[in-house]
Amino acid sequence: MSRYTSITPEDLEAMLAAIGVSSLQEIFERQIPESVRLGRGLDLPAGKPEQEVYEHLRELAARNRSAEEEVSFLGAGFYDHYVPALIDMLMERSEFLTPYTPYQPEISQGGLQVMFEYQTAISELTGLPVSNASTYEGPSAVAAAGYLAKLHNGRPRFVISAGLHPHTIQTLRTYAHGYDMELVEVPLRGGVTDPDAWAEAMDERTSAAIFGQPNFYGAVEDAEALSSAAHAAGGEATVVVAQVDPLTLGLLRAPGECGVDVAVGEGQSLGNRLDFGGPSFGLFAAREEYLRRMPGRIAGETLDVDGRRGFVLTLQTREQHIRREKATSNICTAQALNALGGVVYLAWLGRRGIVELGELMAARTHYARETLAALPGVETLHAQPVVREFALRLDADVAAVRRRCIAAGVNPGADLRALTGREEDRGGLLVAITERRSRAEIDRLAGLLGEAVAAEQGGRARSEEAVPA
C-alpha cells in the first residue's frame, strides 16, 4: 500500500477470497507466462515521501535559469508573457484539471462549453468560421494542416516559405515523408518570402502553400499577396496555410481576410506558461469547406430532450475512434486544459485589450529595433514591419556576445543560425519583445549588447576567457 492506494491487509484478504485465488501472485501467474514475467525488482531509486520529492524537484528547478532570474529576450515561438493569476486558479480547479475527454456530455458540459467558447474565440481571431478544440502545438499543427490539404486535393507537393519556423519545417518534413509529399522551399528576399519565387513555385501540383505570419525572422508577410498568388497559380483547390502567432492578431489583419484557407499556430502566447516548451496548444482554424476534414475534437451546440441548450463532441465521423484507418487524423488526446488557458486569457484581454497589447508590443519592438540597430557593429537583418520580434545581424560572434550579455543578467535573444542552420543567418540574433520587457530593460540590453559586440570585435581571441564560466 502506497500513499495513493487504499487496500489494507484486511481488504486484500477479503478481495482475494471473493476472486477465489489464494494470493495476488496467483492472479499474475495464471495470466502472464513465466518467460515474460520480470523476475526481479525494477532498477529504480526507492520511493520517497512527498517532502523529499518536492525538495528534489526544487533542487532541479534551482539549476535552471528561468525568466525570473534573467531579463530574457528569448522568443522564437515561445514568449515570456504575463499569465494572469485567475488562469492558474481555473486550470488548477479539479473540475477542469482532472476529467477525461468529454465522452459523456451530460456530465461534461463545463469542458464542452469551454471548447465551444474557445472555438468561437479562435474563429474571431483568425477570421475563419471553423476552429477545432485544439491540437498538440504549433509545428505539428502545420503538419496536420498539410495532411488536411493532401486529403482535400490529393496533390503531391507542399510549397513552403523559408520564413517558417525551422521546427515547423523539420516537423513538416518528418510527417510529409510519412504521407509521401514532396517539399519545395521558397527563399526569402529582404526578410520576407520572395514573391516572384513564390508565384513561380505554384502550380496544380501544389497541395498546400504554407507561410508564417509573422515569419520566423519577425517580419510581417503580405499574407494577401501570398494567398492570391498561390490560388492564382494553383487554383482554389490549393490550400493556403498560414502559421500565425495568435497574439499578433489584434493588430494584424485576420488570415481569413487575406485569402488564407487554414490558419494554424502555437497557442503558448495565449495565457500558457513557458514550461521549457510545453504543454501548450496548437490552434487550427479553417474555411467552412474544410469542416469535415478537420483533425481533432470539435464541440457543437445542440439541445437535450427537455430543450435545454447544451454541447457535445460533434462530427466524430472524422475521428479515429469511429473511422479508424479512414480517419482524417489520428489525434485523440489533445490539449484541452491549455486551450482553456487560452480562451480565459482572451476573455481577460478582451476586445480592446488585445489591440492595446498588440500596439504596445509593436511600439516597443519598433523602439528596440531602432535602438539596437543604431549600435556600432549591429544592423537590422531586414527592414520589414515587425510587431513582436525582430532579427539583427551582429558583426561579431553571436555565441560569444550572447554569453557576455547573459553573464550580465540579460539574455539578448536567440542565435538565429543555431536554429536555422543557414549560413546566411550567421551573426543573426532574434530578439523578442513582450509586455514584460520594459523600455528600461530594452535600454539595458542596448548598453550590454553594444559593449559585448565592441569587446568581441576588439579581441575575438581574448573574448573567451573574458567570460565568467
Binding site: S6, P45, L57, L60, F78, P99, V312, Q320, H366
Partner: protein
C-alpha cells in the same frame, strides 16, 4: 423505492459521489421531475456576457514612442478588433467557476473509464511543475542554464527505459497517438534504411482507433488480425498474414480486452521471423509496471501515456505526453532531440551526434516535448519508486478482478457476461448483448443510468468486436468501498430494468442536461457562437 435501491449510493455528477459520503439511501429519481437546480441553468457563453467597455486587462503604459504609422502599413493592419468578450475580472471568475461545476471529475468520484487509467492525480505534481525554475524556463534556454531540466528529462528517459526494458527513449511525442506515429515512422525508416519498402501494418481488431488511423497517416496500409477465443491474437491468421511486406505489428498487451496474450513470445517470433518490427501500444502499461516488460516480450518500439499510467492529469482532453522507447536496432532513427549525458556528467539536447538518432526520422513537433508533463510523471516515479510502481500495477489488477468478482457475486454477469477469459488484468470488458435482449436496455442506457447513481460510466462500445461492449478500468487508487458501491449500482440498474426498462432508457434525470441530440448537432453543426 425497491429494497435494492436502499443499499447503494447516489449523487450528482457535479457533486462528490464516493459511497462513504452517503447515509441517506434514497434512490435517484426514476423519471424526470421538477428540474434540479443545475438543470435550471441553460448554457450561456462568455460571449453573451459582459458589456461594451468592461475589461479585466489593464495595459502597461506606453513607455516608448508610439508606433509610427509607416512602420506598419494599413494594408497589413486589422481594421476591426476581433469580437472578444468585454468583461470584468469578477464576471470571468464567476463564469468559469460556474461552468466548472457542470463537469464531473476524478476528484469528485469514481471514473472507471476503460483504457484511460483514471488514477489519482497527486497535487504535489502541480506544485512541483509550477516552480518558476520549471514553469518559467524558456525552451531555448542555453544548456548551461537548463541543466536541471535536462537532468530531469535524462532521469525520466532512464526510468522509462528500465520500466519498458528498451534502452533508448525520446520524450518528444505529445500524446499516445503522436507516439504511435513516431513508432510507425520508425518502423518504416528502419526498413527503408535496409532497402525494403514494406507497406503493411498488422493491427488486431481489438486495436484502439488511433492505431489504424496512425498507420494511414504514416502512409502504410492496415491489415486486420483476428482475435482468438481466448481474446488473444489468432496465431493462424497471424501466420497467414505475416509476410515480407509487413513492416510492423501493433499490439497492446494486455490488450483492450484486459487479456494478457499468453502467446506473446510466439507472436514475436513470427513477426521477427519475417523481418518485421513489433510495436507496443503502452496505454495499458498500468497492468504490468515492474511485473512484465515489453522489451522482454520482444517488442522493438513502445509508447507511454504519461497522462494515463503516470498521473499527468487528463485536463478534460489533454495535455498528454507520449514518450517512446526503442531497441538498439531502432535507435539510429529515434526522433530528435533527446537528452544525452556527457562524461563530465553534464547534459545536453542531442540531435543525433552518436549512433542514436544518427539517421533520425526528424522532429515531431517544436522544442523538447511537453516538459510540464515530464515533471509530473517524474515526480510520480520518484514518489513510488520500484516497489511502489509494482504495487500500483498489482493493485490495479487486484481491483479489476475484485470488481469483476463482486459483479459475479451479484449475478450481474448473467446479463453482462465477461467477453473473454475468467480473470482479467487491470481492466475487463463485459458484453451488454444478453442484457439488451433480456431487459431491452442497451449498454448506452446502462451508462446513462449510472450517471444518476453518481458514477462516471465505463468506456462503452469499444472494443468493437464485443457486442454492446462495456470496458471497466477501476485503477489502483480506488477503495474497496467504492468498488462495492459501483457493483451494487450496476446490479440495482439491472434489477430496475427488469421491473421497467423505461427507467434506464430515458436516463439520466439528475444531470445538468439530459440526453443531448447528437444527430442534430452533426447534421447542422453550430460550432461557434454567432456574434452581432
Amino acid at each position: 423505492m425497491s429494497p435494492i435501491d436502499e443499499n447503494h449510493l447516489h449523487a450528482d455528477p457535479g457533486i462528490e459521489v464516493h459511497p462513504e459520503q452517503h447515509d441517506h439511501h434514497h434512490a435517484p429519481p426514476r423519471q424526470a421531475g421538477a428540474p434540479t437546480p443545475l438543470q435550471r441553468q441553460g448554457a450561456v457563453t462568455i460571449f453573451q456576457k459582459g458589456a461594451p467597455g468592461r475589461r479585466a486587462f489593464v495595459c502597461p503604459e506606453l513607455d516608448v514612442p508610439a508606433l509610427p504609422a509607416e512602420a506598419l502599413p494599413a494594408r497589413l493592419r486589422r481594421a476591426e478588433p476581433p469580437r472578444l468578450p468585454e468583461i470584468s475580472e469578477p464576471e470571468i471568475v464567476r463564469h468559469y467557476v460556474g461552468i466548472s461545476k457542470r463537469n464531473f471529475d476524478l476528484d469528485s468520484g469514481f471514473y472507471p473509464l476503460g483504457s484511460c487509467t483514471m488514477k489519482h492525480n497527486p497535487r504535489l505534481h502541480e506544485r512541483a511543475a509550477a516552480l518558476p525554475g520549471h514553469s518559467r524556463l524558456h525552451p531555448l534556454q542555453d544548456s548551461d542554464g537548463s541543466q536541471g531540466a535536462l537532468e530531469l528529462m535524462w532521469n525520466l528517459q532512464e526510468a522509462l527505459a528500465e520500466i519498458s526494458g528498451l534502452p533508448h527513449v525520446s520524450l518528444q511525442p505529445s500524446a499516445g497517438s503522436h507516439g504511435e506515429l513516431a513508432g510507425v515512422l520508425l518502423s518504416r525508416a528502419y526498413h527503408e534504411d535496409r532497402g525494403e519498402d514494406r507497406r503493411k501494418v498488422l493491427t488486431p481488431d481489438t486495436a484502439h482507433g488511433t492505431n489504424p488511423a496512425t498507420v494511414t497517416m504514416a502512409g502504410l496500409q492496415v491489415v486486420k488480425l483476428a482475435t482468438n477465443a481466448d481474446g488473444g491474437i489468432d496465431l493462424d491468421d497471424l501466420r497467414a498474414k505475416a509476410d515480407e511486406d509487413v513492416a510492423c505489428l501493433m499490439l497492446t498487451n494486455p490488450n483492450t480486452l484486459g487479456v494478457f496474450d499468453p502467446n506473446i513470445a510466439e507472436i514475436a517470433d513470427i513477426v521477427h521471423g519475417v523481418g518485421a518490427t513489433l510495436y507496443y501500444d503502452g496505454a495499458n502499461l498500468n497492468a504490468v509496471m515492474g511485473l512484465s516488460r515489453p522489451g522482454d516480450m520482444g517488442f522493438d518500439i513502445v509508447h507511454f501515456n504519461l497522462h494515463k499510467s503516470f498521473t499527468q492529469p487528463h485536463g478534460g482532453g489533454g495535455p498528454g505526453s507520449g514518450p517512446i522507447a526503442v531497441s538498439e536496432r531502432i535507435a539510429p532513427y529515434l526522433p530528435v532531440p533527446f537528452v544525452s549525458r556527457h562524461e563530465d556528467g553534464s547534459f545536453e539536447l542531442d540531435e543525433g551526434r552518436g549512433t542514436v538518432g544518427s539517421k533520425t526520422i526528424g522532429r515531431l513537433r517544436g522544442f523538447q516535448g511537453n516538459y510540464g508533463c515530464f515533471v509530473r510523471s517524474y515526480a510520480y516515479i520518484r514518489s513510488l519508486g520500484a516497489d511502489g510502481l509494482r504495487d500500483a500495477s498489482e493493485t490495479a489488477v487486484l481491483n479489476a478482478n475484485y470488481l469483476l468478482a463482486r459483479l459475479r457475486e451479484l449475478g450481474a454477469l448473467e446479463q453482462l457476461p465477461l467477453a473473454y477469459g475468467d480473470l482479467c488484468m487491470h481492466e475487463f470488458v463485459l458484453s451488454g448483448g444478453p442484457m439488451k435482449r433480456a431487459l431491452q436496455i442497451k449498454t448506452l442506457d446502462l451508462a446513462k443510468r449510472l450517471l444518476d447513481f453518481g458514477f462516471h460510466p465505463p468506456t462503452v462500445y469499444f472494443p468493437l468486436l464485443v457486442d454492446e461492449a462495456l470496458m471497466v478500468e477501476p485503477t489502483e487508487t480506488e477503495t474497496k468501498e467504492t468498488l462495492d458501491a459501483f457493483a451494487e449500482a450496476i446490479a440495482a440498474i439491472l434489477a430496475e430494468a427488469a421491473e421497467d426498462p423505461q427507467i434506464a432508457q430515458d436516463a439520466p434525470y439528475t444531470t445538468p442536461v439530459r440526453r443531448l441530440d447528437e444527430v442534430a448537432a452533426a447534421k447542422r453543426p453550430v460550432i461557434r457562437e454567432a456574434l452581432a
